[in-house]
Amino acid sequence: MTARRKTTKRRTKAYREFVSEAEEILERMRDDLSDLADRRGQGADVDPELVNRLFRSAHSLKGLSGMFGLDGVSELSHHLEDVLDGLRMGRTAVDERALGLLDESVALVAQTLEKLEEGEGAGLDEQAAELIARIDGWARAPKAEAAGEGELDLEPAMQRALTEYEEHRLRENVRRGRRIVVVEANFDILSFEEGLAELTAAVREVGEVLSTLPSPGETPEAQIRFSLLVATDFPPEGLAARLELAGGAVRPASRSAAAAAAARSEPAPGAADATAPAEAEAAPRPRAEELDAEAEPAGEADSLAGGDLASLKSISETVRVDIRKLDELMNLVGELVIQRSAIAKLARQLRQDAATARLGAELEKIHKGLERKLQELQAGVLEVRMVPLRQVFEKLSRVVRRLRRDTDKEVRLEIRGADTELDKLIVEELVDPLMHVVRNAFDHAIETAEERLAAGKPREGSIRLEAYQRGNDVVIEATDDGRGIDAEAVHRRAIERGVVDAGNHLSRREILDLVFAPGLSTRDEVTETSGRGVGMDVVRANITALGGVVDVASEPGRGTTVTMTLPITLAIIQALIVGVAGERFAIPLNSVRETLLVDPAEVQRSDGRELLNLRGEALPLRRLASEFSLGEALREQKQYAVVLGIGDARLGLLVDRLEGQQDVVIKPIQGPIRSVRGIAGATEVGDSGAVLVLDVSALVEDSRSREAREAPARRAP
C-alpha cells in the first residue's frame, strides 16, 4: 500500500479534517460491526439499517481517501464497500466469515492511517494485498439466490427516485408479504425537520421507511410535502389512525399491492379495491387500542398475529420525551415548591397576629392541601425522569463481549438489578466510570485461564454488576473473582510516589482507598500489583461530581468489589440552611445525620485536627469558615456542628447559625468557572439572591484525604 509521503499535505487543514473524519467513520464502523456480531450471536434478525450504515461508511471512506491520493486505503475501502453492498442487497448472507473479513479490513485501514500519521508508509502492502485476495476469494464463492427482479408497480415519481438499495429493500419487504403504503404529510418549510422526524419515528415503530421523497407543498413557497414509502403490517387506515393523520394521508403504494391485499382479505365478493373495506371501517380517529377490533372484521388478522398486537399496544403507551423538557418541568415544580414555602411562612405570620388569625388559619388549611398535591406532582415528575440502568448494563455487556473476542480471555459478565432506576442525567454520567471499572476488572483483575486453574478457581472469570436501591440512594456493585488487590504493593507504591508519608500507619481500608489517589493509579506498572489500573482517580472524581461515593474492598486471591453509592435524583432536595460569617449556605438534608450545639470546651485538638467525642466515636470537625476562607471564626463562641454522613464516613461541619429547612432546586452555576470544589450548585432562598449549595461528598472526601495526608506518625493501636 503505497502512500504518498507529501509532508506538506499532512499539515494542511484539509488533510487534518480528512483524518479526523476518517477516524470518526472508522469508529462508527467498529461500533456497528460489534452490534452486528452481537445481534447475530443472539440469533436476532440482521438490521438492514445497520448494514446500510456500514455500507455508507465504507463508501464515504473510499471517496474521501481517493480524493487525497491515498490509493491503498481507497482500494481497501472499495473492497469493503463491495462486501457490504453484497450484504445489504441481500446477495450474500451475514456469516462469520464475512464479519471476520470486515473486522480485519477496518482494523487494517485504521492501522494504515495511523502509520501515515506517524510518517511511515511501508510494511502494510503485503497484508493489504493478502486481505484483498481473501475478500475476492470469499466474493467468488457460490452465494444465496438473489431476490427476484419482479415488477414494482409504484407511482412513477416515487419509482424514479429510488436508489438501487431502496429498490432492494422494497423487493425484500414485498417478498415477505408486507404491505407497501405511502404516507404523506405537508410541513412548514422552516420547521419541517422536527415534524418529519416525529412522523418518521412514529412510522418506524410499526414498519420500515424505505424512502423519503420531498415534493412541492400545497403552497410551494411556504410548504414542503413529504411522501414516505413504508413497508408495514398495518392496514392503511389503521396506520393513518395511529399516526393521527387524516384518512387520505395513507394509501397503498401500488395497485398490485392493493389488489393482493384485497385478495388476502376475507370474502368481500368482487372487492378488487382494498379501499372499499377501508372506507367502511374508517371511523373518525379510532384510537390505538381499538386497532384489534378493526383488524378482525377485515380478516387481515393474518398480518397482525395476536402476539404482535400485544407488543404494538405497549409501544403506543410510551412517549418519547426530550430530557430538556423534563428539566424545565422539574424547574417549574421546584419554583412551585418554593412559592409554597413562602405561602406557609405567610400563613404562619398571619396566624400570629390576632387581627388576621382567622384568615391565617384558613390559608394554612389551603396550604396543606396544596402541599399534598405538590408532593404528588413532584413525585410524578421525578418518576418520569427515572430510567432503569438496563441500557447502561447492556452497553457494558457488549463491551465485555468485544473484549472477550479481542483478547481471548474467558470472562463472564453477570448482571443483576438492571431494573433499578436512577435519574436519567445520572445514568448518562455513569456510563464512563462504569466502563472504566469493568475494563479494569477485565484487564487487570481477572487472571489468565492457566493461573486460575492453578489457583483452584474455575477457568472462566466472572464480573458481577449488581444494582439495588437503599433508602434515598442507589448502590451499584462491581465484583470480580480475580486476584484481588495487593495492599502491601499499593502501600509501597504510594510511599514511593510521595502520596503518603512513610511514617504513617494506615489501616487496611485506608490503604485500599489509596487506589483512588491521583498520582498513584496513573502508572501502568501499578496495574500488576494493584489489580486495578489506570483511571480509578477519574472514576472517583466522576462519581463525586454526581454527589455519590465510591469505595473498594478486596481479598487477595479471592476478588475485589467496587461499590458506588449514588443519590437517586439530583433535582429537588430538602436542604438545611446554615449561616457562616454573614453568608448563607444550603446543605442537602439527606446527607445530614444530626445537628449539635458545640461548646468550644468540648472540642479536642489532636495532631492538628479538631475532634469531638460523639457517643464514644471521634468525629472529625471542620470549620466551614476555614474551609472557604470566609474569615477567622471566633473559637470561643458556641457553634453548631452539622454532622455530615456519606456511606460510613462522618464529618462535623461547624457553622454559626442554623436557619431552618427548606425544599430547594439545585441549579447549575453558569459562567467561565466550570466547577468549584465543595460547591454543588446554587439555589434561591427567599428574595435575597443566590445561596450556594454544598457538595457534601466532596467535603467528606477532602476531609478523609486530609486526614491521611496531614496526620504525622501515629502509634499502632
Binding site: S629, I669, G671, I673, A690
Partner: protein, 171 residues
Amino acid sequence: MSEPVETTRRGPRPGWDALARAALRRESQEDTALRREFVTFHLDGDSYALPIEAVREIVRLRPITPVPRVPAPIRGVISLRGEVVQVLDLRLRLGLPREEPTRATRVMVLHGDDGGVTGLLVDSVRDVLRIPEEQMRSDSGGDHEAVAALLVRGNEFVSLLDIDRVLDLEA
C-alpha cells in the same frame, strides 16, 4: 441541456495541495470577519464595546453572592429569573482599580458558545454602535491582550473586547 459528462481518474492529482491551501485561507478569512453592531459601555472613564450578538440582556446590579475558591475577578453569582450566573468584574479583569458600584452600574449578560451565560460587571452602558468594517483597526501593541480591535467613533477610540480572552481566566 448539455451531454452528461463523465470523468474518472486514478493516479496523481496535482490540484489538491492548492485546494487544501485555499480551504485553509477560507477558514482564516471567516475568523477575522467582524460584525457591525456593538454595544458600548464605560469602564474607568474609557469606552469599550462588545458584538451585539454576544449580549443577551443588560440588567441592573442586584445582590451578588460571593463564591469561594474562584479567581478574584469573579465577584460571585447572581440570581437571574431562576438562573444562577457568575459575575465577572470587568475592572478587575482588565487590571483597573476596583470601585464601589453606582446607580449606573450594570451587569451585561453574555451568551456563551455552549449556551452557558456569564455576567459582566461594568460602570455603565452607553448605546449600540453601528460602523462599517473599514473603520475597524486591529489593535497592535494595545493596552491589553483582551482588546481585539479599535473602533472609531467621531474622534474617539472604542476598544472592542475579545470575549474569549476576557472569559479565559486561566491565562
